[in-house]
């Protein structure tokens, strides 16, 4: 058995909800067209196809295009040692999809991190709080429209934050959907400050 076979089986099981498997450098990716079905697909992947380990959940901010969010699930089966990647797109207006914490308990903290950094909510999550930033922090700092330097905040007796002095430094990638080479920090031209 290999990942591709499992991917085809998942597609047969769910039909049009699951895309044709996309294989790249021996890694197999499935796109789940309806984010509302992600928990069903995950449950089937675990119970019927032996993907008993959720390696990671990550999120992508496709700033400037719609749908804005992509949530990525990396799953693995200890029995058959196959990897699989599931992707699903979520619109910014919705920013919500069902939790998979009921399928893999490890999803609890992964989903909290996605919520903390990107502000995507997971419906039915047992304990959807921030995990890295403190309670009361008003922003989602891994969004592309959030400045790397940060913003001023203050939660008395808990924590404060101030923008870091970047001083025009070449640290910040331009957010957007253009070519990465044109958006990366070293592509920018900084004018020397005349003393």
């Amino acid at each position: 058995m290999d990942s591709l076979l499992f991917a085809h089986q998942l597609r047969n099981r769910f039909g049009e909800v699951v895309s044709q498997p996309n294989q790249f450098r021996d890694e197999v990716t499935l796109i789940v067209s309806d984010p509302e079905r992600i928990a069903d697909v995950c449950a089937a992947a675990k119970k019927e196809f032996g993907f008993d380990y959720l390696k990671d959940i990550s999120s992508v901010d496709n700033y400037g295009s719609d749908p804005r969010w992509t949530v990525v699930y990396h799953i693995y089966g200890y029995g058959h040692r196959c990897h699989l990647r599931l992707k699903t797109d979520v619109s910014e207006a919705k920013s919500e999809l069902p939790t998979v914490a009921g399928v893999w308990r490890g999803a609890d903290w992964h989903e909290r991190e996605v919520y903390d950094m990107m502000g995507i909510r997971f419906r039915g999550h047992p304990d959807l709080r921030r995990i890295l930033m403190w309670e009361g922090y008003p922003y989602f700092p891994l969004r592309k429209d959030f400045p790397l330097a940060g913003k001023s905040t203050d939660v008395p007796e808990v924590a404060f934050s101030n923008p870091a002095p970047l001083e025009g430094g070449p640290f910040v990638t331009t957010p957007g959907v253009g070519h990465a080479a044109a958006r990366e920090p070293r592509a920018k031209v900084f004018e020397e400050k005349k003393a």
Partner: protein, 169 residues
Amino acid sequence: MQESTEIAYNSRVESDVVATRLDAALSWFRKNSLWPMPMGLACCAIELMATGASRFDIARFGAEVMRFSPRQCDVMIVSGTVTYKMATAVRRIYDQMCEPKWVIAMGACASTGGMYRSYSVLQGVDRVIPVDVYVAGCPTRPEALLDALIKLQSKIQKDAVLAKLKKAG
């Protein structure tokens, strides 16, 4: 004139008597028994542990008694990245230390935020607590931390202890 000679110089007690000012003696006591508060927050803390271990042996400078209670400490060694989430806790622990107290900012992160020019990291621990000695390094070598300790000792030696006590009433 036998007696005056007796007071000025007595070969029997020569090596047992040190003439000094009380101020200098008090500072000397203080600087040679600094109990550090190991505020280990990141990789610099590993170097801090190395400094405390046998090879570098911070005991040679009288600062080997690491205490994890701020109430027993004299010098807080902030070793590592201070995040905004931790900044309030660092300040609180500093406030719980008894006077006199000093702070060493160990490494680039504790001194300036280091390479973390980002939303989550305090840009230098001196933004929440007063720092006496800054140490460069990423992470700081144990020799550099020992040098910082020696610098702090010479700073403490210059301290006018009695004058301060008098001022405080």
